[in-house]
């Protein structure tokens, strides 16, 4: 500790000192800030996007000996690489504005820590990059493994790795960046290979050799639960596809117009905007698209196109002069969305998904029943970035922008979406009740027809009657007196049950003509045949 840092308090004499951050914090950070390798890989893809790449190629399969990412972006020379990446957290990406130079893409990089991510998934990395109009490329070799042990606490900076640089000749017209990861960390490799599930004999769906569109169709058609039915490698691909700024599927995210028409406009605007970013990712030959496709084809067939879309576009100004602009939509259908991974809300900043929250940002009202019926996306166009945590996949929930979005979403759900849900829920219940009633009527009719060999009519009566059930054999009618006190004493769900028993009893009574033994026998026989 420096002498000037030493605190030596004397009685009644105030002393001021500074609170500081030790270099050790970097050691902790560099050991891992991402909960999932998908987020680490996302950082590399985002770097390519910020470098104005149009195509990113990722290769890992089939052996996972190496993991390479190549992009056709503007590239870097060794100086830029050194400034941006060798010094972690010294990102200069936004020094010249919030948009990229030529393609005018909103710049994603902010913290300059993306490369820390790499040390989490491999021990060795090689970077080769060149810029257009420069007749050389640089190669940098980094070995993270040498620096995995703890370093002295007094150090001002934390050494993450040793970087070996070399410049080599290259064609002037070339521009690219190639990152080759070798000696992949054991955990990452085992995850890609799905080793644990294989060892436990858990069967998972294999999408090898298929196109992305077909994979999504298969998940949707077979209502697969991605976290259970799909292997870890494919989970990773689907997660990355959802996070990075690649375009939507041709028929996605919502494949048919909603009932009220017109509300697909905001979605189409978003879809066209994302497409205009002109960014493609080829992951082991699979061209990624946003894996969102609703509603399920089977649901359209069976239930009709019964869903709603609630689009929005909002601007808010804050006291500190900051602004929050966002647009998006909530899709709602009248039953649970499958796969479950499409239940919830996605928040995207600069077109990158930050969170996918199945609880709609901790929805506070007692309407949890409707939550799994909904999916939504919010594209933040301005603001909220300050609320981002360093891992870029969570927010500080106390930030005013986050609070605003949370409240806006909750109000939208509570006062609009779920109000409609309730109406639809009631409609659905009423329809279900009517259908059940019809079936019950038919069953009762067929029972009476077979017992008396006559064609009966069934009538429901609202008047106060002496008996709950009456059979009129002269006019071939069965009266069900709904307001008879006997029905009031039991629970609603047990009424049908009681009704059936009473019909059988009344039938036995009529058929037995006062003979108690006969009544008993017919009644018990009727019950034995009775199917609930």
């Amino acid at each position: 500790m420096n002498k000037k840092d030493a605190l030596e308090l004397k009685l009644n004499k105030p002393q001021i000192t500074q609170m500081k951050v030790g270099a050790q914090i970097l050691e902790h950070l560099s050991k891992g800030i991402y909960s999932n390798p998908a987020y680490a890989i996302k950082e590399l893809i985002n770097n390519a996007y910020d470098a104005e790449a149009k195509n990113v190629i990722i290769r890992a399969k089939p052996e996972f000996d190496t993991f390479s990412i190549t992009d056709d972006g503007e590239g870097m020379n060794y100086k830029e690489f050194s400034d941006r990446f060798v010094w972690i957290s010294r990102s200069d990406r936004r020094d010249k504005g919030e948009l990229t130079k030529n393609l005018k893409r909103p710049i994603i990089g902010k913290f300059g820590i993306g490369f820390i991510a790499v040390s989490e998934i491999c021990n060795k990395m090689k970077i080769i990059s060149t810029k257009e109009n420069e007749n050389y490329k640089f190669e940098a070799e980094i070995d993270f493994s040498k620096f995995r042990k703890s370093q002295p606490k007094e150090k001002e900076f934390y050494e993450l790795s040793e970087v070996k640089f070399i410049n080599k000749p290259e064609e002037k017209e070339e521009h690219y960046t190639m990152i080759i990861l070798t000696d992949l960390s054991r955990g990452f490799r085992e995850l890609l290979e799905d080793k644990e599930r294989k060892e436990r004999g858990i069967e998972v769906v294999n999408f090898d050799g298929k196109k992305f569109e077909d994979i999504v169709e298969e998940i949707e058609k077979n209502k697969l639960d991605i976290s259970k039915d799909v292997g870890r490698y494919w989970q990773l691909i689907l997660q990355i596809a959802n996070i990075v700024p690649v375009e939507y599927l041709n028929n996605g995210p919502i494949r048919v117009p909603s009932k009220d028409g017109g509300s697909l406009k905001t979605i189409n605007d978003i879809k066209n905007y994302v497409k205009s970013l002109n960014f493609s990712v080829d992951f082991d030959g699979v061209y990624l698209k946003k894996p969102i496709l609703l509603p399920n084809e089977e649901e359209i067939k069976n239930l009709g196109e019964d869903f709603q879309i609630y689009s929005f576009k909002e601007k808010f100004n804050f006291d500190d002069k900051s602004r929050l602009y966002f647009r998006g939509y909530v899709y709602n259908q009248k039953q649970m969305i499958k796969p479950p991974q499409l239940q919830g809300i996605i928040l995207r900043i600069k077109n990158v998904a930050i969170i996918m929250d199945p609880n709609f940002l901790e929805y506070p009202y007692a309407e949890k029943l409707f939550i799994p019926w909904n999916f939504g996306e919010i594209y933040i166009e301005e603001g909220l970035e300050e609320a981002l945590n360093i891992n870029r996949n969570s927010f500080r929930i106390t930030h005013p922008h986050y609070r605003k979005i949370e409240n806006y979403l909750h109000d939208l759900l509570h006062y609009k979406v779920f109000v409609d849900c309730r109406v639809r829920w009631d409609e659905r219940k009423e329809n279900k009740r009517k259908i059940e009633e019809e079936i019950r009527k038919e069953n009762a009719k067929s029972y009476l027809n077979s017992e008396f060999r006559k064609s009966f009519k069934i009538e429901y009566n609202d008047t106060q009657a002496k008996y709950p059930i009456e059979i009129d054999l002269e006019n071939n009618r069965l009266f069900i007196n709904k307001n008879n006190p006997i029905y009031r004493k039991i629970k609603k769900k047990d009424r049908n049950f009681l009704e059936d028993i009473l019909i059988r009893f009344e039938t036995s009574y009529k058929k037995s003509e006062g003979n108690v033994e006969k009544l008993k026998s017919i009644f018990l026989e009727g019950l034995a045949k009775w199917k609930k």
Binding site: I57, R59, K61, P62, E63, D65, T66, S68, T70, K126, I128, E139, K168, P169, E171, M178, I180, T182, D208, G209, K210, K211, D214, D282, D284, G285, V286
Partner: protein
Amino acid sequence: MEKMNNAEGDFNRKEEDQIYNSPQKWFIREKWAQHATIRRDSNRRSYIRLLTLTSTKTYDINIFKERGLIATTNSGYLPESLTFCECVPERYARIHNRLPGARGFLGTFEDFVGAGAIGQSKRANTWFPYDVINLDFTDPCFKQRDKKTSRTIDAIEKTFWLFDVSSG
């Protein structure tokens, strides 16, 4: 055998293209493809299993693919139909970029088959046998550093041995 590139470990686009795009190479490739077609037709499989030392433009594989000799999928190649060996990381990544789904070995062919050593690489152990092995060497077979015997020649011998062992 021709010598390629200024130093081992480098990738020079122009030099590579001069070597791999020569008329002689195209003539040989054509003969290879004809032979591979016969081989495929005599196999029970509808495709051949190819091991190749290809270039970053994968000329030989392109011909094999055009003629339906190697198996492809909707997202690339069937792993057991195609293997490539390359020791220069940049070249390895460029080749792999063109061949999604293919098996790749980042190392020399000699390392792959375990030339001059007991046994072979873990990969060769599980990937052999192949129907066609395209050993299109671009380095001298007898290198200065190979003091007593040529490691490349050892590798070729080992390949035949591996083929015998893996074919049962």
